[in-house]
Every structure is written in structure tokens, then in C-alpha cells.
Symmetry: C2
Subunit: 418 residues, 2 copies
């Protein structure tokens, strides 16, 4: 069968399944999630064997150590995926909730009920755990999924989907609820971009290049996720002990993630006091520090930060530092370079804290805390499908609730419009 | 200046203005809306003169009577636009509302606050009142607008924007909050499709062709509006008096609108009783009736309905009628042909009513009422910017609340992630 036909067939099966899944009760969905979790643990050997094929192929093709580590599955990692599904089963079911209902003067009762989106397409890179996490969250919210993982993880993903879709079906979910595109051709992604008749939304999870390609080429509505050029501003009235802890945490607790800090802005009044020690501490943690002219006047061996650095999501042990003369200048810099993911101010000044909260136009805006908290789990949403950096539909961490839409239901008694 | 540069300059001004407008208080915004309303009435002569130019040009170019009527402005119509702005000024301001705030175990207070989308692009056809309605709703929600009307109304739109943007500025809104693209070239629309750096959303208002072109070509996120192939199903247990009233209202009260009924589905058990009289009544109201084979066995001079008819939004005095043997068959037909706008069932049977509400996947699903109610005003949302037929962000009539997004605000006390 031709590639395009094959993908349309899968998408069409997902669409057919979504119409049944939308009306299944919570109990069946939760039983299926638990069965999927059990099946992952019971059939872990198959999954690890398939993963070993991917790892071998990756090594032969010179994948970096960090990519290989992201690709690697172990019994513990598979158990963690299973555990994730069990947690999702515990979440309350958003579907069917009537969010509001009002009686109009003409007697019509008009309400808004939460319903599934339908079919969710997900395009993602390397990590095979996304296969399980994404499928679990989508199913919980009554949606079916069409998954397209990276070619480097194709064997792992096939084995995983084989295991979980069998378990889901046996537990009562409609056949075809979890679809994995098996072709590793780039063309498969192009086909997904045009599946408007089958997909209700397309969510890319991965690097900036992947996300940009999806945004630019998909006619299916997209939720943009992830790119985080995050800033922390240390105000002149900051508690410098808090500032130190927050800076170290936001930059070094984990670097390859979208909510890690990439640029530090420091008010000139505290720069001389704050910078030498923090730069030393960052260097002790293997972080390369780049700075503007003023930073290098204080710590002379700091490398020069270029305009490109201000615009870069390093996702690495690299930090760009700029000294600013005011909160307004910090806000201007953020406005120019931020990707509107997460920004923080460290200050004890009440008015400046609120000004920062009001004026920064990002998905998550912090006072006196590390940007690393921007995460579905940390925000109390349970697991997340990604972090939206766009303004439509969902903004910030997206949990089960963000995988739904609403419809109006209207109870009449023969009303007609005048 | 080159077309593209000029449009980017306007979009960039709108973006700059949006950053100021987002933080203006309700009072300034409401004063501006009232000032815009007054200015429309005070300077009505200028507007009518400009409109006369468009009308003349339209007549010369052979615009149909109905298009000319949509284009025509009168003192009364301008006053109605002004009245619309005064009503929007009365709405409560959605901006700044904290929708939820929770304290996490680590002490972080995490809240969600309602904020403007930013800059809203609107591409619309013929009717110049959209210029005022759209600008008013967008400004109320703290957004600036980039408007692109049809070339047939260019003089009217220019005059209107000239009047309202001057009044808005004098009342304290940022300069450049209301932008009208003055080029009537098709290329201008193409440029809008790529303004991702400036526009947060693009809303097309018009016919199916316009909407499809925007969806297919825009990289700016789109909210699809409007196309309504709406169905009404008369169940075997319908109250046929209610059914009659609802059918006549949904088809003939106004035909050129998206929430008018286009296909009537009738249960075979009541077809012989119901159809002859209703078809006569429809014909008395100049409605052309088309029917499937079974309909034509009951009323022999009914024209044959083709597959294409089932899929057509007539927007005219035309109705396609099909006889079905069960609720399930009605649901299947709707599932196949509906554009997911508005559908209604007429029945006295409780279980069938709820089954229809549950299973029809449309923006608005009715029991025993006319689909003509799908409208922001009728639903109690105040005015509307359009009716979304997509599932992302907004579904059904979109009022001021749907022109907003949220951001997370986080109050910390030095928290770092473990």
C-alpha cells in the first residue's frame, strides 16, 4: 500500500475509534490504563529487546551519548512508564462535566459540557516514554492518538504500542485507539500535516526545528510546545541568598529542559556584590558563563555574550548574563528575546514584583522561585502532554483538561427565534 | 513603500500598541468605546459619503442586490453600530480576573490570570459593520486589531476606521490600536498569513471559500468560523406542532446565515403525517424543497436531492429533506455531512433527546428548539466575533471571553526544584 494511503487508513481508524471512545465511561478507560501498565511490566523483555536494536543502530550511526541515554530503556524505566499510566488512571475524568448552565429569558437552558477533542496527532523525538505518556493522557481524556516518533526509536515504539494497544483493546477500548506510524520516511510527517479530516490537533514535542517545521507546514491546528529561552532577573532589592539558590537551581539542576534558565539579568546596584560569587559557583558546576561588557568589567575572564547568545536556548551548561540599570530595562530585554515560556524576578519589593507579574507576557511568570517549576506535575495538573508557548487553547503546562473541548447543549421546549 | 513592508509596519504598530493596551484599566477602555460610538454618529455624513462611493462602484461592477444591500450604510445602520459599541462598553471586563489560585505543598501559590491574546487579525467580507463590531470586541478584551475587509467596502471601511481610531486615541487608547489594511490586492492577505511575529490569531469571517483559504495557507494560528450545514431531526415521538414551528423558523426566519437549517431529517413513522403540510408551508414561503426517493413518494412533485445537496450550505430558500428509519440513521447522516455547527432533535422522548445531545459532535446541539439561536447575543455572551466550528480554543459563539488567554502567575519565597 502506498505510504499516504496507509497513513490515511490509520488516521481514519483512529477517527472511527474516537467516536466510540468519546462515550465510554471512566471505569472502562481507567481499567484500560491499568491493563496497559500491567502489560508493559509483564512484557518488558520484548520491549527491551526491541530497544536494544535501536541502541545498536544508534551506536553504529554515531548518536551522541546524551541521545543514546534518552533512547535507552531499562526495566526500571519501563516500570516508571507503567507507574505513570497508573497515576493517570487516578486522575478525575474531565469528560462530561457540565461547566456551566444558564436559563435564558425565553426559557432555553443553555449549558457547556466538556468533551474530548477527538483525534490527537503527536510528533515527537527520541524518548520512547513519550509514546506511553502521550497515549495515556489522550485516552484518559477520551481521545484517540496518532503517534509519530523518531526513526531512531522506531523498534522500541513499535514494541511499546504493540503491547499497550493490545492491552487497551482487551480491556474494552475501541480497536485502533492507539496508532503508530511505522514509516520512518520524512514524507510521513508531511502527510500528517494535511490530515484535517481526521486529526483535530497536532502537537509537536521536540526541538525548535521540529516545532517550527510543524507550525509552518501543518494545516491541521497546532499547539506549539516547548521552546524556552527563560530569564531570571535579580532586582536591586533582591534577597541575594534566595537569588543565589534560584540561579543555581534554574541553570544547573537540569540543563536539557525547556524550563531551565538561559539568560540571567542582574540589576547594576547588586552586580558587584552578586556576580563574582555566583559566577564562581556556576563554574564549579561546569557552567560556561558569557557576559556583556559590564559583566566582564566585574569578572574579567568571562567570555563575551553576543546578540545571538541572548536569543539562544542553550539547553546546556551555558549561561548568558547581562547587567541592566532598571526593572524596565530587564522587561525590555525579556520582551525582545523571550520565547514566552517562563521568566522570574527575584525581589523583596512588592511593587516591582507585581509590575513584573503584570508586564511579562509569558506562559509562567514567577516571583522568587526557580523557573524549573513550569511542569504539569509541579503545577498539580498531574502528568502533562507538553508545555504550550502559544496563546490559543492552552498556555503553559497542558494536562488532561487541556486535551478536551466543549460543546453547547441546549434544552428547549419549542422555542423559535423572533 | 512596498506592500509587504507597509503591512508589516502596520502589524508592528498594532503589536506595540497591544503591549500598552493590555495594561489599561476598564474605565479607559470603556470611555474609548463610548467615544467611538459618539464619533460614528457625529461624523455619519463622512461615512455615508464614502459608502456611496462603494455603492456606486458596486453597481457599476454588477454586484447582486443582496450584496449591495449588505454593503449599504444608512444613518440608522451607523447608529446601530454605535449602539453595539455602547453595549460592549457595558460588558464586564474579562482581563485581570484570577480564574484559580492554589497553594502547592512546597508553599508556591500558583494562579491563572486572564490576559488579552495580543493582536487579532480579522479577514472579512462585504458588511462594513464588522469593522466596528470586531474592533469593539477586540479592544474590550485588551487586544489590538489588524483588519482586512473586502475591496468592495474599502471606502466605507477607511472612513469608519478613520473616525473610530481617532476617537479611540483621543480617549486614551494607544496610537495604532486599530489598523486597517488599505490595499485591496489579494497579496495583502498572503502577507497576513505569515505575520506570526505580530499576530496572535487570525479569524476569517465570510464564506466557505475564504475560510478554507485562510485555514490552508496561514501559519498564524486560525480560528475557523461559520460554515454551517445545520440539521434538524424530527423524531417519531416528536410533538409535530413544535416540529412545524421549529422547521419553519430554522429554515425561513433568515436564510443567509450560518445557523439556518439546510437539511431536515424526518423519521419514517411520522413522515406521511408531517411532510405534506410542512412542504406546502415551506413553499408558501418561497422555499424550494428537495427530497430523497421516500420523500418524493409522499409528495410527488418534490425535486430530487443529490448527494451534493446533503453536503451543501444553501444559505438560501432551499431545503433538502431525507426520511430516516431511526435515530441512529439520523445520527449517521449528521456525522457524515454536518459541518459541526448546530443540529437539533425534535422529540418528546427523554432517552432519545439525551442520546442525541451526547452523540452529536457539533458546537451547539439542541433539543426542541430552532438552530437559529446559535449566536452570541442569544446565548447571553453579549456580542460575538464569530461562531467557531473548530475544537481548539473556542467552540460555538465567541464573545469577549474567547478573545483572551491565560498566564500562570507564581508567588514564591525562594523555592527551588528538588
Amino acid at each position: 500500500m502506498e505510504l499516504k494511503e496507509k497513513i490515511i487508513k490509520q488516521a481514519s481508524e483512529a477517527k472511527g475509534a474516537s467516536k466510540k471512545l468519546a462515550h465510554l465511561g471512566s471505569e472502562v478507560k481507567n481499567q484500560a490504563l491499568l491493563a496497559m501498565a500491567d502489560a508493559l511490566e509483564e512484557r518488558v523483555e520484548e520491549i527491551l529487546q526491541a530497544n536494544e536494536q535501536d541502541m545498536e543502530y544508534g551506536r553504529e550511526n554515531g548518536l551522541s551519548e546524551s541521545l543514546l541515554d534518552r533512547l535507552l530503556l531499562t526495566e526500571a524505566r519501563v516500570s516508571k512508564m507503567a507507574q505513570g499510566l497508573r497515576e493517570v488512571a487516578q486522575f478525575s475524568d474531565p469528560i462530561g462535566e457540565v461547566l456551566e448552565m444558564k436559563k435564558r429569558p425565553n426559557g432555553l437552558k443553555i449549558g457547556k459540557v466538556q468533551v474530548p477533542l477527538g483525534v490527537i496527532g503527536i510528533i515527537y523525538e527520541a524518548r520512547p516514554n513519550v509514546t506511553v505518556d502521550a497515549a495515556g493522557l489522550c485516552l484518559k481524556a477520551g481521545n484517540t492518538v496518532v503517534l509519530r516518533g523518531s526513526s531512531s526509536a522506531i523498534n522500541s515504539n513499535k514494541a511499546i504500542v504493540n503491547v499497550i494497544s493490545r492491552a487497551a483493546y482487551d480491556a474494552g477500548l475501541p480497536e485502533g485507539s492507539i496508532q503508530l506510524l511505522e514509516s520512518t520516511e520524512r514524507k510521513a510527517v508531511q502527510v500528517m500535516f494535511e490530515l484535517n479530516d481526521y486529526l483535530d490537533v497536532l502537537i509537536p514535542r521536540g526541538g525548535a526545528g521540529l516545532i517550527q517545521a510543524v507550525v509552518n507546514n501543518s494545516t491541521v491546528p497546532v499547539i506549539e510546545t516547548g521552546v524556552g529561552n527563560c530569564h531570571t532577573f535579580i532586582d536591586s532589592q533582591a534577597d541575594l541568598d534566595k537569588a543565589e539558590q534560584i540561579v543555581i537551581n534554574a541553570k544547573t539542576q537540569r540543563t536539557g529542559v525547556c524550563n531551565a534558565m538561559e539568560t540571567l539579568l542582574v540589576h547594576e546596584d547588586v552586580a558587584e556584590e552578586f556576580l563574582p560569587a555566583i559566577i564562581e559557583e556556576l563554574r564549579e558546576r561546569d557552567t560556561l558563563v558569557k557576559g556583556d561588557k559590564k559583566v566582564r568589567e566585574i569578572v574579567s575572564d568571562v567570555k563575551e555574550a553576543t546578540t545571538e547568545d541572548w536569543a539562544t536556548e542553550f539547553l546546556d551548561y551555558i549561561l548568558a548574563i547581562k547587567i541592566v540599570s532598571s526593572l524596565d530595562q530587564a522587561l525590555e530585554h525579556i520582551d525582545e528575546y523571550s520565547t514566552s515560556h517562563s521568566e522570574a524576578i527575584v525581589t523583596e519589593n512588592y511593587t516591582k514584583a507585581h509590575k513584573f507579574l503584570d508586564l511579562v507576557d509569558s506562559a509562567a511568570v514567577y516571583v522568587n522561585a526557580s523557573t524549573r517549576f513550569t511542569d504539569g506535575g509541579q503545577f498539580g495538573l498531574g502528568a502533562e502532554i507538553g508545555i504550550s508557548t502559544q496563546k490559543l487553547h492552552a498556555r503553559g503546562p497542558m494536562g488532561v483538561n487541556q486535551l478536551t473541548t466543549t460543546k453547547f447543549i441546549i434544552f428547549g421546549d419549542g422555542q423559535i427565534r423572533q
